[in-house]
Symmetry: D3
Subunit: 136 residues, 6 copies
C-alpha cells in the first residue's frame, strides 16, 4: 500500500451565515466572517489516494490524471465561485471549511479509477488553518 | 540606511468588473475574475520601511508598532471585506492588486512616524502572483 | 469524524543539558545544543482536534476559540521564555522538543471543550525537524 | 510513543521509460517524463521514526544521528545521480517516486538503531506532488 | 510605475561540465555537479515586469497573458528537458543558473507587449540558491 | 552584472535590553523581548553577491564556496550562541536584528573573493519580520 498526494489551488468567496438566525446572532457567533458582503480565500487542496503500485508504470496512479479529475470535478465548480450562492453541494448547509472538505470527498470518491481508494481530503483555508477528512 | 519588512495577512472578496463595459466585454477581458457573484483571496502584505537605526533601541522602528499601524489603518478597512463594495479608496477604480497596493501605500505613507520612510508595499494575491509599489 | 488544525508560533531560549552529567558528557552528547549560555528557536505549533461537525455552525470548533485556548494556556507560558528556567512542566525533565510536545499535549487535553478530542500536537523546532505526539 | 521527522534534500535526474514498450507507447503513457535525454528534480525527503523518549537525553533519537544515517545510506547513493542509470535498487524497476520511496524505506529500515522504528518515508517530487510509504 | 511578478515552475536535467577541460579538472571544480550521467532540479522562475497601470483594466498586464508568454516561449523549451543537450541558447555555454537566467531574459525581453518592460528574471535552482538578472 | 543569493540558517538566544535603562524602562520599550532569562530564534540569512559571470565556469561565484565563507565566518560565531553574551561584534550594542544584519555585512565584506561584491544581507528573525542591509 502506498499513498500519493496531489496539491491543487482555488479561490472563492463565501460568508459564514446561518439563515435561521438573526443578523446579531450571526455576528456574535461568526464575527467578521458573517459579513453580508462576503469575503474570500485562496484554498489549498491536498487530495491523497492509496493503493498498490502498478509494475508496468511504477505508478499508483498517473498524477496528471489525478490532477485532471480534481480540476474537472472539483475546481470546475469551486474556483472563482461564490461558495454560498453557486455551489450545489453546499445548499442548505453552512459554508465552512469542514463542510467544503466533506463535499469534495463525496465528489472525488465517485470519480477515481477502481485501482485507487480516496484516503484523505485536506483543505487549507488560510496558511494557519486546515481541515482533514478521511470519510466515514 | 537599513530596511525593515513586516508581513501581515488579510482575506477579502472582490471581482474584476468595469462598469463602463458590457457583461460580455468584462468576461472577455477578465474571464472567471469577472464573476458577478464575487470570488476572493488570502492576501499577504509585505510593508518595507527604511531609515537609520536608533542607538538606544537598536531599532529602525519597533516592529510591533509597525504591525499595529498596518492593522489599525490597513487591515481594519480590508480584512474580511468586499473590496469593490466596502473600501472607500477603491471606489471608481478597478479592484486589481495593482490598485490595492497603490491605495495601501497612500494610507501608510501618512501614518508612519517621521524617522522612517515607506519604501515598498508588496502584495501577494496568490502564492504565484505579486505586485510591488515604491511610490511615485 | 473530521480533523481541524490550527498553527501557532512562539519563540524561546533553551539548552540541552542533563544536570546529572559532567559538562564534558553534555557536550559529547548534545554538542552545540549544550551551550551553557543558551540558544533558541522559533517554534511552529500545529494543534489538531477531531470530532463531529455541528450543523448549526458548520464547525467542529470555532478556530478562533481554539486559537485563544492555545494562546491562553500554551503560548502564555512558552512564548519569549527560557524553557529550562521558566516553564514549570519541564522542571526535572530534559528540555527537548519531544518533552515540549508531550507537555503541550497534557495542557491542551484539559482545556478543550467536551465536543472535541485532542488528536495531535506537532511541533517544528526548525524548518527541518519536527515531533508529533498523539497521546498515550 | 512519539514520532520524530527529519527533512533532507537531494537532486537527481531520471526518466519514466519502460524498456519493454516502444518509444511511442512510452510517450503516450509518460508524456514529457519519457524524454530520452532525461529531466530532473529537487526531492524533499521526510523520514519519520517512532518509539519512546529516553529520559536521560529527552530524545527519541538524536536528530543529528538520524540525519547522518539518511546522508550516509540514502543521499550518498541518490544525490546528484541519474536514478535510472546509477541506483542499484531501481535496476529493473520503473524509476517513479513511488518506487523511490519504497527503496528508501528498505534501506533505512536496516540502518536505524534498535530503539526506534521506521514509521514513514515521505517524498516530494515537486512542491505539488508527494508519496508516502509506511512499509508493508 | 508598478511591478508585477509571476512565478512559474519547470523541471530539467543538466550537468556542469566544461568540455575544454579534462574529466579530473571538471570534478575538481564542479564536484558532484559534473556527474556525466546528469542530475536535475525543480526550478522556480520569477518574472517581474514594470510599467504603468491601465485605468480601464486596473492591470499593468493581465497576469494570465504574462503566464502564457512565459509558458509558450520559456517553459516550452526548458521544461522536462536536458539543458545541456536540448536548449539552443545554452549551446557553447556553461549550463549554470546564471547563464540560464540570462538566456531567459533574452527570450522574454523580445516577447513582452510594448506597454511593459522586463525588470527582473529570478531563478531558484534549489530552495537555498537563486540568481537575479536585471539586464545589461 | 548578475546577483547570486545563498540562504543559510542559524539558531541563537538573545534579549533586547539596554543596560543604561532601568528594568521597568526596558520592559516598557521591549516588552516580552526584554525577558532577562533570554528567548531565541531560528534566523534565516540571505547573502546576495553581485558581479560578472566567469565564462569558464558559468559562475559568478561557486555557491559552495560562498556557503563555506558564510559558515566559517558568520555561522561559526552565531549558530547556537547567546548573541548578547558571546558575540564580539555586538558588545556595547543593542542586540537587534538590524545590528545583527549590519555586523554580518561587516564580516562578509572582508571575506569575499575580489571578483564579487557584497550586495545585500537579508535576515529573517521570524517568518514575518526581516531586515535588509545594503552597506553604507
Amino acid at each position: 500500500m502506498i499513498y500519493l498526494t496531489r496539491i491543487e489551488h482555488f479561490n472563492a468567496a463565501h460568508k459564514l451565515y446561518n439563515p435561521a438566525w438573526s443578523k446579531e446572532q450571526n455576528e456574535d457567533v461568526f464575527g467578521k466572517c458573517a459579513n453580508e458582503n462576503w469575503h474570500g480565500h485562496n484554498y489549498d487542496l491536498y487530495v491523497t489516494v492509496k493503493g498498490e503500485v502498478d509494475e508496468q508504470t511504477g505508478f499508483l496512479i498517473d498524477v496528471k490524471k489525478l490532477s485532471l479529475i480534481i480540476r474537472d470535478y472539483v475546481l470546475e465548480i469551486l474556483d472563482h465561485k461564490n461558495l454560498n450562492v453557486e455551489v450545489e453541494f453546499l445548499q442548505g448547509k453552512m459554508c465552512s471549511t469542514e463542510n467544503l472538505a466533506k463535499g469534495i470527498w463525496q465528489i472525488l470518491d465517485h470519480q477515481l479509477p477502481p485501482n485507487v481508494t480516496l484516503h484523505c481530503v485536506k483543505l487549507f483555508e488560510t496558511a494557519r488553518i486546515y481541515v482533514e477528512y478521511y470519510g466515514d
